[in-house]
């Protein structure tokens, strides 16, 4: 083996890396929460009897799903700073990269969550809606009280899997030089001339986190399958 490993720059860089991990998690959680809420709204719109709502939701979802995340992020790094400076009167020098990333990820992920929620709603038997409206609930009430709670339970594994994908995708904020976990690792590696060790370390950390989470999702899935079988 020609390469001599030297891992000594990792311990000193840990606080900086942890800060980066914080940024990654912040983006993940924000996109997850906003994506779930806005995604559910989009999914309900997409199944609504009102045609313009359906078209809007379909257009939104298809547009975001057709474009690479990198491109969406570049768009938001271009457009959001200009809008913010125009609307809020911020000085153009303010660092709004994190805000742009948060908004970009949230709007992008919503399109994917909308599809998961739509599939979840469609997995609930039609008779449920018929029974709920026959009992005198309005369509909105039936959706909120009967359909969505069941749909959400069916979707939990898929939603969590998508969250793992999302966490991995946050590394793409690299295109704006924002120091998320990967960005931080790259910067340290570049500074110390230890790119090989830092990138391998970053890969290992992502692997351990994502692998344990996906194992957890699998166990959850097995448990809910056993629960469903017992019913």
């Amino acid at each position: 083996m020609a390469y001599e490993f030297d891992w000594s720059s990792i311990p000193g860089a840990l606080p900086f890396l942890l800060e980066g991990l914080g940024v990654s998690l912040k983006i993940t959680v924000t996109a997850l929460v906003v994506g779930m809420v806005w995604g559910t709204v989009l999914a309900v719109m997409r199944l609504s009897p009102i045609a313009p709502l359906r078209w809007f939701a379909a257009g939104y979802v298809n547009l975001f799903r057709a474009v690479p995340l990198v491109m969406v992020l570049l768009w938001f790094f271009l457009v959001i700073p200009q809008l913010l400076t125009q609307w809020l009167g911020l000085s153009p020098a303010t660092d709004v990269r994190l805000t742009s990333a948060l908004i970009g990820f949230a709007l992008f992920e919503s399109a994917y969550y909308a599809e998961i929620v739509r599939a979840g709603i469609q997995s609930v038997p039609k008779g449920q809606m018929a029974a709920a409206t026959a009992l005198g609930l309005s369509r909105g009430q039936a959706m909120r009280l009967v359909i969505l709670p069941q749909a959400l339970r069916n979707m939990v594994p898929l939603l969590l899997t998508q969250a793992i994908v999302l966490f991995q995708d946050t590394s793409l904020v690299y295109v704006s030089a924002l120091a998320d976990f990967f960005g931080a690792a790259y910067k340290v590696g570049d500074r110390d001339g230890r790119l090989v060790e830092m990138l391998l370390f970053a890969g290992a950390v992502y692997f351990v986190l994502c692998f344990s989470l996906s194992r957890l999702v699998q166990r959850l899935q097995a448990r809910s399958a056993a629960h469903a079988a017992a019913l």
Binding site: M1, A2, Y3, L63, A66, V67, P68, L69, V70, M71, L74, W75, L78, Q82, Q86, I164, Q168, D169, S171, L172, Y174, V175, F182, Y186, L195, V196, L199, L200, A202, G203, Y206, F207, C210, F211, S214
Partner: protein, 245 residues
């Protein structure tokens, strides 16, 4: 601040002295995106089928190897994998090989890393679909094939795979779309594909909206073409009597 639209920018000369226009840069980017994605797709299909089959064979050892392969490639971000292929693998290879790689022209190195990285990354996802396709077949098919005296490889080749491949086509459509979208990540190692050409145009012309709109439209065009192609393939290979579509 008002923005001055100038769509004629694509017909403008790049003043690089070779007479090319900014529009030609965009088309070169499109060509690179398609070349890299299609090459990676061939690799992903070949490896994905192999690993997908290995995940269903009786041998525990082979199943374990295939599972490890899939888990590693699925739980590390694409960007990290790309940087590992581009920056790190040449360092870790035996010195003579690493030096040979580093002496290649930069665009060849970038393309090579991009194709290998996207191909392997996608192969893990393809293998999951292939595995699901094989496992969706009744277990009786394997048993009947073996009982008739076929060897295990024969059972796969003659009974299981011809059916599984047809069932797997619809879910592969989204992976095929993903490989084009994921190729945009390769702009980070300097590969001059569509997204990178878009950014370069912004730097040269200061017309960001035209550049980004053109790139976005090209990705949508790729999407439509791929969906159309896969629709044709799906129609051709659909198994009569199965639900769906």
């Amino acid at each position: 601040m008002s923005y001055t639209w100038n769509w004629a920018v694509f017909a403008q000369d790049t003043s690089m002295g070779d007479g090319s226009t900014y529009g030609a840069w965009m088309l070169a980017g499109l060509k690179m995106t398609v070349t890299v994605s299609l090459s990676a797709w061939v690799l992903a299909l070949a490896l994905g089928c192999l690993v997908g089959v290995l995940r269903t064979v009786p041998s525990k050892g082979w199943r374990g190897v295939a599972t490890a392969y899939v888990e590693v490639l699925r739980n590390i971000p694409l960007l990290v994998q790309l940087f590992i292929w581009y920056f790190i693998v040449p360092e870790l290879l035996p010195k003579a090989w690493g030096d040979a790689i580093k002496q290649m022209p930069p665009d060849v190195q970038q393309m090579g890393a991009a194709i290998v990285c996207l191909g392997l990354f996608t192969s893990a996802r393809v293998s999951e679909q292939v595995r699901a396709g094989i496992q969706s077949l009744p277990i009786g098919q394997t048993r009947a094939a073996l009982a008739l005296g076929l060897t295990l490889p024969q059972a796969y080749r003659l009974v299981l795979l011809p059916m599984a491949f047809r069932l797997v086509v619809p879910p592969l459509t989204s992976e095929f779309l993903n490989i084009f979208k994921n190729s945009a990540v390769c702009s980070t190692i300097g590969l001059m594909e569509l997204a990178a050409q878009g950014r370069q145009l912004v730097d040269y012309t200061a017309q960001p909206y035209e550049a980004f709109i053109a790139v976005t439209l090209m990705y949508m065009l790729i999407n439509v073409v791929v969906m159309g192609l896969m629709w044709l393939v799906e129609r051709k290979v659909r198994v009569p009597g199965y639900m769906g579509q």
